[in-house]
């Protein structure tokens, strides 16, 4: 057995240490920022904080959460996440159901969808379409342009295709139409996949910031990710006339760190679920 050779044992010990170091390196930056956010402002300014708070204080969080602008953007983010996920899942399910059937229009629709993955109009023309439709400064600007996710639709279609045809044929004999077989057979059978895809859509919406930056001309309409982005890139504040004294507080190191952490919190909360999904995928040995 190669496992008992001296060389392999040396390798094994070295390998374990290396992998542990790499894994720790993946979360260490986050831990550092968390430690800064819970430290006293003076300790953070003097760069005394490493991976544990110095002069523990939750004041940065109190100040962040007392800021009406921050709370408003938090609420807008929640709204867009819920509305955007609901809309894109409804569209993905209905389109995927149609694309999983064999009928005359299927191939046309497939290409119609796939082509958008291959070619796009780019930033400026898309921006002009959204502004011409007068969606600027409305929630629609954040959820409509990305409502159809072709990739998710294809994944959903593959789930639907894996469901045995016999079930639907039996339902058809019993007099069920397309809608009934979708709601009574296909949807209940694909609930786990639906949950996973919805969670992905939610993370996507929560993390999206660029659409907010270009379609919201009023900074009070910024979702949280966009708000954070302008604070973090505080050099890039020309189009947001937040008053300078307010900006000073917002860009202080502990407050900044607390904002980063609050922005990451929802993702960290759903993360264990994702980790479990992908570990299971590895264990099953499929893609």
């Amino acid at each position: 057995m190669y496992r008992n050779t001296l060389g392999y044992r040396w390798f094994s010990g070295f390998n374990t240490a290396l992998l542990a170091a790499i894994a720790v390196l993946c979360i260490l930056p986050l831990i550092h920022v968390a430690a800064v956010s819970f430290s006293s402002s003076s300790a953070a300014m003097a760069n005394q904080v490493y991976f544990w708070p110095v002069g523990f204080s939750a004041e940065a969080y109190a100040r962040t959460l007392a800021n009406p602008l921050f709370l408003r953007s938090l609420l807008l983010s929640a709204e867009r996440t819920v509305a955007g996920t609901a809309l894109s899942m409804i569209l993905a399910v209905s389109a995927a159901f149609v694309l999983s059937r064999s009928f005359a229009g299927r191939s046309f629709y497939s290409w119609f969808f796939v082509f958008t993955m291959l070619f796009n109009g780019g930033l400026i023309p898309t921006y002009l379409v959204v502004t011409k439709l007068e969606l600027t400064n409305t929630l629609w600007a954040l959820i409509l342009p990305s409502a159809v996710n072709v990739y998710n639709t294809i994944l959903m279609m593959q789930f639907f295709k894996a469901i045995p045809k016999e079930l639907e044929e039996a339902a058809y004999i019993d007099g069920a139409g397309y809608m009934r077989s979708l709601t009574r057979i296909y949807l209940p059978l694909s609930l786990p996949s639906l949950a996973t895809l919805s969670l992905f859509a939610m993370v996507w919406h929560w993390n999206s910031w660029f659409d907010g930056l270009i379609y919201m001309t009023d900074y009070r309409q910024y979702p949280l990710a966009t708000f954070l982005q302008t604070i973090i890139q505080s050099g890039d504040m020309r189009n947001t006339n937040i008053d300078p004294s307010q900006l000073q507080i917002l860009s202080e190191r502990t407050v900044r760190s607390s904002q980063i952490l609050i922005g990451a919190l929802p993702i960290l909360l759903v993360y264990p679920f994702f980790a479990a999904v992908f570990r299971a995928r590895v264990d099953d040995g499929r893609r």
Binding site: V98, M117, N120, G121, L123, N207, V282
Partner: protein, 303 residues
């Protein structure tokens, strides 16, 4: 006659299908296909007061300008360079990491490592950009450590060459764990009797890795590698936008950030569209080629 009635009956039966897909089709028409028509703007001099249709045609003026204007040629080069470095690094690191993780027996340790390395993939570049500017700044924790061991501070985000380095390394840091999944899955699929046979023939673990494990990964590597070719002009807008600053525009500016600044900040819609069109067109050719190749090599199909 009978034929016609049959097809109209079929159409009536299929009507619900067409209605179900209609909302998605409308959305794609408005937000994906209409902008593609909007690319014609690259051949016009867009004036807001004249509108899209009445702005004058100028032919290849903007495209010609793009290839002669030093700023835009530099930007195209930066994009290509950063994206290629990322493609190469993101291809190699996950494979090596998967091979190393595959040697670990202790299940708990293996799972803990997996759980930690997938995490950065799920955080946005806004969050990670905030974290990186904090830790990589002049007084950040990384430079504190460097000065602790007697090294000069490094301007990771303020010096052009270091900026490219930082962008590539931090992108690998964010994505390598998640990209490992596909290889780990392929590794669990390997038939264990292959290893036993190699063992009997006297192969060391290194030989087993080279002659059993790696060949089993080759189909996946080929598909992933060819598909990544479509990204040759995708240097990562979110990342660069959240990390760069005027000090590193020369080395760090890429097509997408350039289009944003020139188009939306300075209002040169037509020129920015021309640069965007160049990117879309090149990407289109490469993506189609990549899909064809991936289908050839690995029987990979998107549909």
């Amino acid at each position: 006659m009978r034929e016609g009635r049959k097809s109209s009956v079929r159409l009536a039966r299929q009507l619900p299908l067409h209605l179900l897909i209609l909302p998605s089709v409308v959305c794609l028409l408005v937000f994906n296909y209409a902008p593609m028509t909007g690319l014609l703007m690259a051949f016009k001099d867009y004036k807001a007061r004249l509108g899209f249709w009445d702005s004058p045609w100028v032919g290849m003026k903007h495209l010609h300008y793009m290839f002669t204007y030093p700023d835009s040629t530099q930007v195209i080069w930066n994009t290509f360079l950063i994206a290629s470095l990322k493609i190469a690094a993101n291809a190699v690191v996950p494979i090596l990491f998967a091979l190393l993780l595959n040697e670990v027996r202790a299940l708990f340790f293996k799972r803990s490592v997996q759980t930690l390395v997938y995490l950065p993939h799920f955080l946005s570049w806004v969050i990670l950009g905030g974290i990186l500017t904090d830790i990589l700044g002049n007084k950040g924790i990384v430079n504190q450590l460097l000065s602790g061991i007697g090294l000069d501070p490094v301007f990771f985000l303020g010096d052009g060459d270091w900026f490219r380095f930082t962008v590539v390394v931090s992108d690998v840091w964010k994505e390598f764990g998640f990209s490992t999944i596909i290889y780990l899955a392929a590794l669990t699929g390997i038939n264990l009797s292959l290893y036993e046979a190699a063992e009997i023939d006297g192969a060391t673990r290194l030989k087993q890795t080279l002659h059993v494990t790696l060949p089993a990964l080759v189909p996946v590597i080929l598909v992933v590698g060819t598909l990544s070719l479509g990204n040759i002009l995708n240097a990562g807008f979110d990342q660069i936008f959240n990390l760069y600053n005027p000090l590193v525009y020369r080395e760090g500016d890429i097509i997408d950030t350039f289009v944003y600044r020139v188009g939306l900040m300075n209002g040169s819609f037509s020129f920015a569209t021309a640069v965007g069109l160049f990117k879309s067109a090149v990407s289109f050719v490469l993506i189609v080629a990549a899909y064809r190749l991936a289908y050839r090599f690995g029987n990979y199909r998107i549909f």
